[in-house]
Structures are given as C-alpha cells and as structure tokens.
Amino acid sequence: MPTMQSFVCDRYKLLMIEKAVNLATDALTIILMRADFAQVVPFNTKYYVKRINVNGNSGAIGLTFSNTPAKITRAAGNFWTAGFAPGNYITTNSANPANQGPFLVYDIDLVGPGLWMQIVDLTGADPTLTAGVEAAITITFEDQLPTAGGYVQDANGMSAYAAVQYDTGGYAYIDFDPVNFGLAMMGDIAPTAGALIWDDDAAADEIVGFFDFGGNESSTWPDYLTVGNMRFKIA
C-alpha cells in the first residue's frame, strides 16, 4: 500500500484564524490531480494556495530562455500573479522543440518579483533549452486530471460537515464524506497522484489542502475510485 500524506495550505490556515473561511459550511470542490503531481517537485503549501494555481496560462508574452539552471524569464509582469507555482506541469508554444516542454516549475523569483521561473524536466533534471529571446510565447500549466472517461474537471462538490471537539485526543476535527470518482460518469479514471480541495466560498477559491496518494492510482469501470477517510484536524 502506498503511504498517503496530507497537506494544509498556509494561506488557508491564516484565513481560518481570520474567520474568513468556514470549513464546516463553505462549499468545497475536490479535484483529482494529474499523474505524478507532487512526486518530483513536492507539494508546496506556501505557494500552491489558490484555485488559479491549478491551471491557466501566461498569455502571449516575450520570454528569454536560458540555461544552467534552466530558466524562463519575462521582461515584465509576474508569474506569481498569473497563477504559476512550484510543481506546475507546463508546456509552451515555442517554435524551438527544446523549449516546448513539458517541464515542471521548480522555483519562482521572489525578489523580482515573479520575473523568472526555474524549470526542470519531468524527472527533476536540469534540461537544456535553446537559449534566446522569443516573442509572443504562451506558457500553459495544467495540474488537474483532464476531463475524460469517468472524470469531469471541477465537478465534485463537498459541503456541510460538523466540527468535533475530541478531548481524548486533544484536538478538533472535521471528517468529510467519501467521494466517489467515476461512479456517475461510468468511465475509467486515469492515473492520478492525489486529490486537492479548494474552498469555493473563499475570496480567491483558496486551496484547503492536498491528499498525496503516495503514487498514482486509477480505476477501470465498473470499479470506481473512492477518496475516503479525509479528516481535517487542528491538533
């Protein structure tokens, strides 16, 4: 059996003590992540914080590709605010095959801020890019499992769970009901590395956290994939 891990995002913790979110009553969405998500670049609770971090694109912008380490640099704008985060699976529409990807975002400039991204290949190695300036390039990132077979993107909601004070254990918790993927759609579930939950009632659909399956899981219809035993705990 793979070892599951769970992560709670830092910003969501802050929103909780600011009384800006209510995990017990807010509408939540649970999604499945792509194969190998967080396996090479670990899930980052500091910067993978909002729904916009799951997928999006840069728009057509001028980019400089450079090496050692491999970086993509923009002249203006901000990769952070565009939604990019460490761990993203990215591709580009560069005419140079070496610059098309796919890559993983390894780090993003904190000082610029957000002017460059360091990237690695899908094994975590430093790739060799075709160095130079390119105009009107779009970088696309997508970390959610595509809509196919038994999975539909953004379609699984969760809500209304009771908080419990557990004095014996010295903590408080909310248990979520199991979620079945593939059951309603009557199709296969492609390999997925984990499930992510965001809060639809939070100001920017902040991510509550991520359940790392510890490896890729899949299912073949009529079996379905169930994510269960989900507990949010304040200890």
Partner: protein, 220 residues
C-alpha cells in the same frame, strides 16, 4: 514560557467562531500559585466554576458525588482547586483530578489523599483558579491590545499575536501566580485560547512591572 492551547479553542477555530483579524476582544487572566493547566479548560468560567448549595453532595472516598445535574455543565475540570461551604475537613481546599457527570475525584492540594468525611450535605462548591483582585490586578481578566493574525512561512503556522502585556503592582505584591490564561471575550462562552505557564510561580513586587513580551499563539 510554555504555551498550551485548549481543546475547545481548536474546536472554536474550526467552527468559525474566533477572529484574530477583525479582531475579537481577547483578555488575559492570572492564575493562582501552583496552577497546572489542562487542555480541558474550555471557557473562562472554568477558572471560577461554581455550584450553589441547592444540591446535595455525597462526600467520601476521595470524591464528591451528586445525583443530579452535571459537574461538566457547571464548568468543573481537572486541575481546579476547589473549596466548599461544608464543615470541617470537607471544606477543602481540594484538587480536582477527574471529572465525570456526577463525580469529582479529588486529592489534597499537594496530590496526596484528601481527608474527606463521609457525609451527605448541601453546600456550595467553588473553584478558585484565578488570582483575586488587588494591587493592580482585577479579577475577571484584562483586555489585550493590538490583536492580529500572522502567518509564519518558515514554520507553516498561522498565529495570533498582541501587544506586550505590562502589569504593574501598586500598593502591594501581585501573586504568586503560575501563568496567564488567554481567553476570547467575544465568543459566547468566553472560550479559553490557552495558557502561558511561567513554569514557576512568580510574584510582581510592589512598584515593579511584569512584562510579557510579544506573545504569540501558534495555532495551526
């Protein structure tokens, strides 16, 4: 100082009842000498838990039992130092070690066997865990200032913080006191956030000021 959060505060946070950003009105209270905090202290009322004399209690066998009502509802918790209005050795003080709905298990204040006299009687029972008023300290808690929420990205913790506490003794000593209870005066039950233990009893001497610097409460 060592901070311990109450279980109830964790529940209140999870249940959308506590706000460090707006923020709620938080207060601090000083505890008696020798006080040892349990995370079961859930509300400010636990410090001064009280049951009036309308109930008949059965003293004996290291316990004080009742046949109706609930010790928990009356806010008694393990750690309470209680006295009663009963006569003789049943007056106390006693240290509460276990609380069930109908039975308080007690020891003497040092943890040794309590010398209770077997009897059924009506009396009032009071917990005395907060320092009494005097010389600059006021029973009931003192408002904190500058409360706000913070996020420590190095430790991945969200936390509440407030301005330093400065308490000056005037006309006499304050204490000895074992630590500071922080509670949320805005929540309907005055939820206890947690407890800063001084780890030894402290006395604020007449004319001096005790400063508690930049206290933070690591939450989650």
């Amino acid at each position: 100082m060592l901070f311990t959060a109450s279980n109830h505060y964790k529940y209140r946070l999870l249940n959308h009842n506590v706000d460090w950003d707006a923020p709620d009105a938080f207060k601090y209270a000083l505890t008696r000498a020798g006080f040892v905090f349990s995370p079961l202290y859930s509300t400010y009322g636990c410090l001064n838990a009280y049951r009036n004399g309308a109930t008949t209690f059965n003293f004996g066998s290291q316990s004080i039992a009742r046949t109706t009502g609930s010790w928990s509802t009356d806010k008694f918790v393990p750690g309470n130092l209680i006295t009663t209005s009963a006569a003789g050795s049943n007056y106390g003080p006693f240290l509460v070690t276990v609380v069930t709905t109908l039975v308080l298990t007690v020891t003497d204040p040092t943890g040794s066997m309590a010398l209770l006299t077997d009897v059924s009687t009506s009396c009032a029972i009071t917990a005395n865990d907060e320092l009494g008023s005097g010389y600059g300290y006021t029973l009931g808690g003192t408002a904190l200032a500058g409360e706000n929420a913070g996020l420590d990205l190095a430790t991945d913790n969200a936390y509440g913080f407030w301005n330093d506490i400065a308490l000056t003794a005037a006309g006499g000593d304050i204490g000895p006191t074992a630590g500071i209870i922080i509670f949320d005066d805005t929540t309907s039950d005055d939820c206890i956030v947690g407890y800063f233990s001084f780890q030894t009893d402290r006395i604020i001497r007449d004319g001096t000021t005790m400063n508690v610097n930049s206290s933070t409460v690591n939450h989650i």
